[in-house]
C-alpha cells in the first residue's frame, strides 16, 4: 500500500520547507504576483515544494500502478500539510519573532493569513481553522495531480514541464522583458518566416525547383506580407487602438514603414522570407536555434500585449502553447531539415552556413536596439564575465592553476584606466578640479579610453606575471589560498588611505569619461559617445570576440598543448621538454591581461571605479561560471556566464531570496552535472594530420 520511502521522503522534504517557512518566505512572496491577480509567488512556492516531493515519492511508487502512486503522492502532500499546520498552530500560540525575525506579521499568529492558511487567517477563539483545511486540501490534490503526470509519455512530460517553467519565468519577470518586442512585431516576423518555410517545404515535395528558386519564393512571400503591412499601416493601423498597435506599446519593427526606414523594413521582410525558405534545409542547430528564438520572441510579444488586459490567463495559456508547440515540434522539424541539408550539394551547404553566420551577426549587432537599456546591461555583464571567464580558464581549465584572486587583475585593469583617464591628485599636480565643468578646463586625464585600454591590458598582464613568480612552485590548494590573498591585498590597497591620492581610497574614482568613437574626420555626424549600456554593448561584444579569438588560437597551438600537459601531469610535462616556468607565467600573464581588458571596459561602462566592486565575490563568480560551464571549454564559459550572471538578474524577482536561490542552484547544478554543462571536446586533428602528410609526401615526391 504505502511505499516504504513515502513517509521518510516526505519528512525529509519537510525540513527545508519548515526552514523556509521560518524565513518568512510565504509572507514575503505573498505580495508578488506571478500571474496578475491570479497566482502569487507564495502559492507557487508552496506548490513547487509539494510538487517536487510528490514527484520524488511518485517515482518510487510508480511501478505499483496509477492508483497507488497517486495515493502515495497524496499522502506526502498530507504529511507536509500536517507539519505546516502544526507549525502554524504552534506559532500562533508562541511568538517566535525574537528568533525568526522575518517570519511574518499578521494578527492571530504571524504565519496565519499567508498561503499556509489559504489567505484566511485562522482564529483560535472561534475555532475557525478552515484556512488550514483548505491548504491541506490543496496540498493533497496538487500532490496527487503531479504524480499522475508520471504516467504521461516521457517526452510529453518533459515538454509540458519545461514549457510550464519557461512560462512561469517569463510571467515572473514580466517587468524586465515586456519592452523587448511587441506582439504585432513578433507576429509579423513569425508570419513571414513560417510562410517562407512552408512554401519551401511544399516546393521541395511538389516541384523540382532549385534551392535558390525556393529562396526566391520565400522572398516574394516576405515582400507580399510587407506590402500588406504597409497598406494596413497606411489605413491607420498604427494609430493607438489600430490593428497593428496592440495593447502594449507601439510596435518597433512595424512602425518603420511610417518613417524613413521603410526601405530597410522591406529588405528585412524579404530577407526574412528567404531565411524561412533556407531554414527548411539547414543544419540542425541553426534551424532549432532560429525557431526557438522566434518562439521566445512570440511569447514575449504575447506577454507584452497583455500588460493591461483583463484576462491574463489568455496570455499565460498563449505563452505556454507557443513554447510547448515549439519544444515539441522544433526538434522533429530540425531532424528533417538536417537530413534535407545533408542531401544538398556542398556549395549550398557552404552558402547556407555563410548566410546563417551573417544573420546571426546581424542579430547580435541589432540586439541592443530592441533589448533596451536593462537587458543590454545584463548582456554587458554577461559579456564582461565571459571575458574574465575565458581568461581565467587559461589558468584553471587549461593549465590547472587554481586562482581564487582573479579580482586582483580585474581591479588592476580598472584602476589603471581610472588613473590614466581621469584627473587625480597625483596626475594633476596636487589639486583637483572641483566641478564637472572644471574638468575640461583645468585638468583632464592623461589619455583617452582608447589610448589607455591597451595599457591597462598590458599592465594587468605584466603584474599578473610578476605575481605569478613567487607562487610558481606552489601546487593545488596552496596556490588557491595565496592567490586569494593577492585578491584581498589588492582590495585593501585600493581601499586604503595610503594610496588615496592616486586611487581615490574609499571614494574610488568617479567620472571616468565614456569612450568616444570619433570619426569626425569623415563626417562630422559620426561621433558617438558610448555612454548608455546599449551603446557600450558593442564594446563588450568586441571584447568577447577578441578574447575568444586569442584564447582559441592559443589553446589550439603548441602553447595550449603545453598548458594542458602541465595540467595533466606537471612532472611528465617538464620531462617532455616543456619549460614549466615560462608556460605557467604565460598562463598567468594571458589570464590577467584579459581580466585587465574586462576591468577597463567595466570601469568605462560604469563611469566610475569603486573599491566595493572588487571583492572576493568577483573571483568566486568567475571561478564558478567556469566550473559550471565546463573547465577548459570556451562555449562552456559563455554558457556559464549566461547562467551565473544572467540567472541572478532573472532571479531579481525573487527579491531577498535571490542569493539564497543562487547558492542553492550552484549546489544542485554541481551535484547533477559535476563535469559542467558543456565540457570541452577534444580537437580532431587526425584529418588535418592526414592531409598534411599527404601534401608533404606530394612535395617530397615532386622534389
Amino acid at each position: 500500500m504505502i511505499h516504504r520511502t513515502t513517509i521518510p521522503y516526505s519528512l525529509y522534504a519537510c525540513i527545508p520547507i519548515v526552514i523556509l517557512t521560518l524565513t518568512g518566505i510565504f509572507a514575503t512572496f505573498g505580495g508578488r504576483d506571478v500571474i496578475r491577480g491570479e497566482l502569487n509567488l507564495s502559492t507557487l512556492t508552496l506548490a513547487a515544494m509539494v510538487g517536487i516531493t510528490a514527484y520524488l515519492v511518485g517515482v518510487q511508487a510508480r511501478e505499483r500502478g496509477l492508483a497507488l502512486t497517486v495515493l502515495n503522492a497524496a499522502l506526502s502532500g498530507l504529511i507536509i500539510a500536517l507539519v505546516l499546520s502544526a507549525l502554524v498552530l504552534f506559532e500562533a500560540q508562541n511568538d517566535l519573532r525574537f528568533v525568526f525575525q522575518n517570519i511574518g506579521r499578521s494578527a492571530g499568529g504571524n504565519l496565519s493569513g499567508s498561503v499556509l492558511t489559504a489567505g484566511r487567517p485562522i482564529n483560535a477563539e472561534t475555532g475557525d481553522y478552515r484556512g488550514l483545511l483548505e491548504m491541506a486540501a490543496f496540498c493533497v490534490t496538487w500532490a496527487g495531480f503531479i504524480s499522475t503526470t508520471l504516467f504521461l509519455p516521457r517526452r510529453l512530460r518533459e515538454v509540458i514541464f519545461v514549457a510550464a517553467m519557461l512560462t512561469l519565468t517569463i510571467s515572473l519577470s514580466q517587468g524586465q522583458v515586456n519592452n523587448i518586442i511587441t506582439l504585432p512585431d513578433a507576429l509579423a516576423l513569425t508570419l513571414v518566416l513560417v510562410l517562407g518555410y512552408v512554401a519551401a517545404v511544399w516546393a521541395e515535395a511538389n516541384t523540382g525547383l532549385s534551392a535558390t528558386a525556393k529562396a526566391g519564393i520565400g522572398a516574394g512571400l516576405g515582400l507580399a506580407v510587407a506590402v500588406g503591412i504597409w497598406l494596413i499601416a497606411g489605413a491607420g493601423g498604427l494609430e493607438r487602438g489600430g490593428v497593428l498597435y496592440g495593447q502594449g506599446t507601439q510596435p518597433v519593427i512595424l512602425s518603420m514603414v511610417e518613417d524613413s526606414r521603410i526601405v530597410g523594413f522591406f529588405i528585412a521582410m524579404i530577407l526574412a522570407g528567404a531565411l524561412g525558405a533556407v531554414l527548411s534545409r539547414s543544419s540542425g542547430q541553426a534551424h532549432d536555434a532560429f525557431w526557438y528564438l522566434l518562439a521566445g520572441l512570440l511569447a514575449l510579444g504575447i506577454i507584452n500585449s497583455q500588460r493591461r488586459a483583463d484576462n491574463v490567463w489568455i496570455a499565460v495559456i498563449g505563452v505556454f502553447s507557443v513554447l510547448a508547440l515549439a519544444l515539441y515540434f522544433v526538434p522533429l522539424l530540425g531532424k528533417r531539415a538536417q537530413t534535407a541539408f545533408e542531401r544538398t550539394p556542398p556549395k549550398f551547404q557552404r552558402n547556407a552556413q555563410w548566410f546563417a553566420t551573417g544573420t546571426a551577426m546581424a542579430i547580435l549587432f541589432l540586439a541592443p536596439q530592441f533589448m533596451g537599456l536593462y537587458v543590454s546591461n545584463v548582456f554587458n555583464q554577461i559579456a564582461l564575465y565571459a571575458v574574465m571567464g575565458i581568461g581565467l580558464n587559461v589558468m584553471i581549465g587549461y593549465t590547472g592553476l587554481l586562482d581564487l584572486g582573479y579580482v586582483a587583475s580585474f581591479a588592476i585593469g580598472a584602476y589603471t584606466l581610472g588613473v590614466l583617464t581621469t584627473p587625480s591628485l597625483v596626475t594633476c599636480g596636487g589639486s583637483l578640479p572641483e566641478t564637472a565643468a572644471d574638468v575640461a578646463t583645468q585638468c583632464t586625464g592623461i589619455m583617452t579610453f582608447w589610448e589607455a585600454w591597451p595599457i591597462c591590458v598590458l599592465f594587468s598582464g605584466l603584474t599578473g606575471t610578476l605575481l605569478g613568480i613567487p607562487v610558481l612552485r606552489l601546487r593545488g590548494d596552496y596556490l588557491a589560498i595565496v592567490t586569494l590573498g593577492f585578491g584581498e591585498i589588492t582590495n585593501r590597497v585600493i581601499l586604503s588611505n595610503d594610496f588615496r591620492d592616486l586611487l581615490g581610497g574609499a571614494q574610488g574614482i568617479a567620472g571616468i569619461p565614456s569612450p568616444v568613437i570619433d570619426l569626425g574626420m569623415f563626417n562630422s555626424a559620426w561621433t558617438t559617445t558610448l555612454s548608455r549600456s546599449n551603446d557600450m554593448y558593442y564594446l563588450f561584444l568586441f571584447s568577447v570576440i577578441i578574447t575568444m579569438f586569442v584564447v582559441y588560437q592559443l589553446a589550439n597551438s603548441r602553447t595550449g598543448r603545453a598548458w594542458r600537459a602541465i595540467k595533466a601531469d606537471e612532472d611528465v610535462a617538464q620531462a617532455m621538454g616543456i619549460n614549466l616556468m615560462n608556460n605557467k607565467l604565460l598562463a598567468f600573464g594571458v589570464s590577467s591581461a584579459f581580466a585587465g581588458l574586462g576591468g577597463a571596459v567595466f570601469g568605462a561602462s560604469v563611469q566610475g571605479i569603486f573599491p566595493r566592486s572588487f571583492t572576493l565575490l568577483v573571483s568566486i563568480n568567475v571561478l564558478s561560471l567556469i566550473i559550471i560551464g565546463g573547465m577548459g571549454s570556451i562555449p562552456g564559459v559563455i554558457l556559464g556566464a549566461f547562467i551565473l550572471i544572467g540567472l541572478p538578474e532573472l532571479l531579481r524577482e525573487l527579491d531577498a531570496y535571490r542569493l539564497l536561490t543562487f547558492g542553492a542552484l550552484l549546489v544542485v547544478v554541481m551535484i547533477v552535472k559535476p563535469e559542467g554543462l558543456l565540457p570541452p571536446k577534444p580537437p580532431e586533428l587526425s584529418e588535418a594530420g592526414e592531409a598534411a602528410r599527404r601534401s608533404s609526401n606530394m612535395t617530397k615526391e615532386a622534389a
Binding site: R97, Q101, R105, G175, Q176, N179, Q250, V252, I253, S255, S260, R261, V263, G264, I267, A268, L271, R308, N351, W354, T357, G358, M361, A362, F365, L366, Q369, G372, L373, Y374, V375, S376, N377, V378, Q381, E434, T435, A436, L495, S496, N497, A506, Q507, G508, A510, G511, S531, S533, S605, V606, G608, I609, F610, R612, S613, E649, R652, D655, A656, R658
Partner: protein, 423 residues
C-alpha cells in the same frame, strides 16, 4: 572570389542591421497611468550582502510611509502607489544594473535610492539621460551634487556641513584639541573624516592619529592600543553601529576608558545603544536636525512594533521622507488628461524636486536648493545619557557669529571654502 562574395553577403546583412538600428523612437518623457493602474515608484537599495541591514532599514522606512499614505489623489481621482523594489547592492555595477532596469521601464515614475554613493554615482548619469529623477535617502558624498546631474536629489545632508560643524563643536564647544579620527572604509566614513580633519586642523586642533578599519572586522584592540599611546582626548569615528559598538566596548582593553567617543549620523540611533550596552554611556554623536522629534519617536516606536527589531540602520526616516516627497510632487505636477489617465511629466517632476520649499519631513524641514540638496542645514549634537541619545547642542551654518566672534570668522571662511569644494 567566392570568399569575396561571402564577405559581401555578410556586409549586406550588417549594413541592413545598421539601417534598422538607426535611433528608435525617443524615450517617453511622460508617464501615463491608466485608471485603476498603480503609480510605480522604483526603490533601490542594498538588500543582500553585508550592507543589507542598511538597505532593509531604508526599505522599511519606505514601506511604513506607504502604509501611511498608500494613494495619491490628483484632480479627485485616486491612484494607488506601488513600489518596485530592487537590490542595487552597495556597488557601482549593482547601481548601474538597477538604474538601467528602471530607466527602461516606462511605468516607473521615479526612483527612491540608491543607497551607497558608488551606486548613486553609477546610476545618476543613466537616469539623467533617460530623464528620470532619483531621491537618495543616504548618498552623502559631496561630489554627487557637483556633477550637474539633473536627476540626482537627496534627502540627507552631504558630508560637508556635518563635518565642519562637528569639528567646530569638538574644538569650540567641548574644548578638545587632540583627537584621533577613525572611519570604517566606506565612502561615507572616508568622506566625512576627510572633511573633519582639515576643518579641525584649521581651528587649531591636532589630529594625533588617523586610521581606518574594515567593515566586518571585530578586533580593534591593537588599533586602540596604538591610539592610546598617542593620548588623544577623543576618538572620532565615522561608521555604523555594529563597528562602533565593538569599538567602544573594546576601549577598556586599551585603557581608553576616559577618552571621549564621538560618532556621526551613522551612529545616532537606538541600534548603537542596544549593541554597545552600558558602554555607550557618554558617547557623542552628530546628526542633521531635528533627529529627535515627537513624530520621529512615534515613527521609531511604530517601526519597532511593526518589524520587531530596532532599526538596523540610520536612514529609515530619510526613506520615509523620500517617499512622501515624491507623492507631494506627483500631486503637484500630475494631471488627468481627456482619457481619464493620470499624466506625470518627468521634467515637471524633476523641476518640482529642485524647487520645493518647506516640507516638514521626519528628518527636518526640507527645502530644495536647486542643486539636488534638500536637507536641513542644522546639525544637532547628541550624547548618550541613561541609555538614550539626548540633544545637547545645535550648530548651524553661519549661526554662531554672536557667540564667538573670532572663531566664527574662521569657521565662516572654512565654510566658504567648503562650499566651493563640497557641494
Amino acid at each position: 572570389m567566392r570568399f569575396i562574395s561571402k564577405l559581401s553577403l555578410m556586409a549586406l546583412m550588417l549594413s541592413l542591421a545598421a539601417l534598422l538600428a538607426l535611433p528608435v523612437a525617443a524615450q517617453d518623457d511622460e508617464v501615463v497611468v491608466l485608471p485603476g493602474d498603480n503609480i510605480v515608484l522604483g526603490f533601490a537599495a542594498s538588500l543582500s550582502g553585508d550592507t543589507a541591514p542598511f538597505g532593509i532599514d531604508i526599505q522599511r522606512g519606505v514601506e511604513l510611509a506607504q502604509e501611511d499614505r498608500p494613494t495619491v489623489t490628483v484632480d479627485g481621482v485616486e491612484f494607488t502607489v506601488a513600489l518596485d523594489v530592487q537590490d542595487s547592492m552597495c556597488s557601482a555595477e549593482g547601481g548601474q544594473a538597477v538604474a538601467n532596469r528602471f530607466a527602461s521601464d516606462p511605468d516607473i515614475v521615479a526612483v527612491i535610492g540608491h543607497m551607497c554613493s558608488s551606486a548613486c554615482n553609477a546610476a545618476a548619469p543613466i537616469y539623467d539621460s533617460a530623464g528620470y529623477s532619483m531621491i537618495s535617502p543616504s548618498c552623502t558624498a559631496p561630489g554627487l551634487t557637483a556633477r550637474d546631474y539633473t536627476s540626482f536629489n537627496r534627502v540627507v545632508p552631504p558630508d560637508g556641513i556635518q563635518g565642519v560643524l562637528a569639528a567646530e563643536y569638538i574644538f569650540d564647544v567641548l574644548g578638545i584639541t587632540r583627537i584621533a579620527t577613525l572611519h570604517d572604509g566606506s565612502d561615507y566614513g572616508d568622506g566625512l573624516v576627510a572633511v573633519v580633519i582639515p576643518a579641525f586642523e584649521e581651528l587649531g586642533g591636532e589630529i594625533v592619529a588617523s586610521d581606518a578599519i574594515n567593515v566586518g572586522d571585530t578586533d580593534f584592540r591593537a588599533l586602540l592600543e596604538s591610539f592610546a599611546v598617542l593620548e588623544p582626548e577623543m576618538v572620532y569615528f565615522v561608521g555604523f553601529p555594529a563597528e562602533a559598538a565593538l569599538l567602544i566596548q573594546q576601549f577598556p582593553d586599551a585603557g581608553l576608558d576616559d577618552v571621549v567617543f564621538m560618532g556621526a549620523d551613522g551612529l545616532v540611533g537606538t541600534e548603537y545603544i542596544e549593541q554597545a550596552g552600558s558602554a555607550s554611556e557618554g558617547t557623542l554623536g552628530s546628526a542633521p536636525m531635528p533627529v529627535e522629534s515627537d513624530e520621529l519617536d512615534a515613527f521609531v516606536e511604530r517601526y519597532i512594533e511593526t518589524f520587531n527589531e530596532s532599526p538596523p540602520g540610520p536612514y529609515h526616516p530619510n526613506g520615509y521622507d523620500a517617499y512622501n516627497l515624491y507623492l507631494n510632487a506627483i500631486e503637484a505636477v500630475g494631471f488627468i488628461n481627456d482619457d481619464g489617465d493620470l499624466v506625470i511629466s518627468r521634467a515637471d517632476l524633476s523641476e518640482y524636486l529642485r524647487s520645493f520649499t518647506g516640507y516638514p519631513g521626519l528628518t527636518g524641514m526640507l527645502s530644495a536648493d536647486g542643486t539636488g540638496e534638500t536637507s536641513a542645514a542644522s546639525i544637532g549634537f547628541y550624547q548618550v545619557i541613561d541609555g538614550r541619545f539626548e540633544l545637547v547642542d545645535v550648530l548651524s551654518v553661519g549661526g554662531e557669529e554672536e557667540d564667538e566672534e573670532e572663531d566664527a570668522d574662521d569657521a565662516d571662511e572654512d565654510m566658504d571654502e567648503e562650499d566651493d569644494s563640497g557641494y
